[in-house]
Symmetry: C2
Subunit: 122 residues, 2 copies
């Protein structure tokens, strides 16, 4: 459990993985899609994810350089964790909100991936 937690904890990792769930993306593309994150942080977190074999890096020897990141199988399998995190998290948020406001989260992405995995197993 601790191993699993340590793999996904990091200020930007969920957001990065979120990006990659919809397919391979370039460095700059991820960077543009996540506001408030610096390039340094992106590199750092991607390095860590790579070390844990969650993402792979594909370098195209071009000028200007192009690098694409995508989830490994191990990375895709994280989606069950994302799913439960999201379910519990939304539950937590709705019961938390002191103002009585109901937050309606959308977890389209993860349910999609869940379905995808279920489909593959058939």
């Amino acid at each position: 459990m601790e191993a699993a937690l340590s793999v996904i904890s990091g200020k930007w990792k969920l957001k990065i993985l979120n990006q990659l769930l919809t397919g391979a993306k370039r460095y700059s593309e991820i960077n543009r899609n996540i506001v408030g994150m610096t390039e340094k942080m992106l590199s750092q977190q991607l390095r860590e994810l790579e070390e844990d074999r969650i993402v792979t890096r594909k370098i195209y020897p071009e000028i200007p350089p192009r690098v694409e990141y995508s989830l490994t199988d191990l990375g895709k399998e994280l989606s069950s964790i994302f799913y439960t995190l999201e379910m519990w998290g939304s539950h937590f948020m709705t019961t938390t909100n002191a103002n009585g406001e109901i937050v309606q989260p959308d977890y389209t992405c993860y349910t999609l991936i869940q379905d995808e995995i279920a489909a593959e197993k058939k």
Copy 2:
């Protein structure tokens, strides 16, 4: 998702929650069962879990003092997260191990809780 993650991240929280999954426990009891953790950390992490409404604190006005901690409903519902973390984590560990050794994790506790929840729903 980030909310869910932030609730359970903390060096000792998983271990503390682990203890509480088997029922209410006293401060000193938890402390004895978790090796390497100092009392300060136990207090601190329990405080945070209490703030997040994951555990409740019951104080018996006795001398010497007695305080019992137990999971709230919200806390018990975390077990689905623990379960997926454990499943993915063990998968991660077995595929990781460079020596080719197969690590056989035991997740008796969480499967038990899962079963319990399933039973309640019937």
